[in-house]
């Protein structure tokens, strides 16, 4: 097995790990520009697709539901979300974006996607399309 450290010789796992840290650092800086923490940015991004219950968000984020309380508290205090009752289950709460939350989510997502796209901007068009298709395959069902 080749064990050199040249970028061109790295294995798939190392490449994926480095790339993920690269993307996360872009994500973090984009959050900061919008005065959000990465977790708050992720919360807004998820809720931009559709409102979610607390338990659902906890499962989606892979954290205990108790962690969601403070997270949603802070987002609510900033006017990004509100807790809405769920008709038919008086225990549950649907976390929903406010108009300000939608605006913040859209601005953040535009920002982060534009910068992440830049990572692939030097690829030849056919390489980029192949890369995109392989990315789609890798994340499918996960």
């Amino acid at each position: 097995m080749d064990e050199t450290t040249q970028a061109d010789e790295i294995d798939v796992a190392t490449g994926l790990i480095r790339l993920s840290f690269l993307v996360q650092s872009i994500y973090g800086r984009a959050s900061e520009r919008r005065d959000l923490t990465p977790v708050q940015a992720k919360l807004l991004s998820v809720l931009a697709d559709s409102p979610r219950c607390m338990a659902e968000l906890a499962a989606l984020f892979g954290v205990e539901k108790a962690a969601l309380t403070g997270l949603v508290d802070r987002a609510e205090r900033r006017g990004f979300v509100h807790r809405a009752p769920v008709p038919g289950d008086r225990r549950a709460l649907l976390v929903t974006l406010t108009p300000e939350g939608h605006q913040a989510a859209a601005a953040f997502l535009d920002d982060v996607k534009a910068e992440v796209s830049g990572l692939a901007s030097d690829l030849r068009p056919d390489d980029r399309e192949r890369f995109r298709a392989t990315l789609a395959q890798v994340i499918r069902e996960r």
Copy 2:
């Protein structure tokens, strides 16, 4: 522009962002299995390559140097690293892995790389090699 949500139709930026969260969740679970936080795991992984000064680590992690003090304190308390004087600069401290730290870093890295490799294991060999080469190109110089 196509705006469907099917996995096969996602753009490169969205694919990269989702993949990075996927890799980070694997990284987090592998850390947890070794009783490390993700940041501690990252610290050990970086130091496995070579010892680093506090300021160097702060720059590498993109955090303030003050944050490194507690991070290295906790790693030192657990016997993974120690602070060594730097000959020729009595201000600086070289953070160095202990034998236990090297062992922990190697075990963690084997673990996380094996699981991350699994993400690409369903690709056809030629697709995987092309994917690997494109990853190398994207992270080069970054």
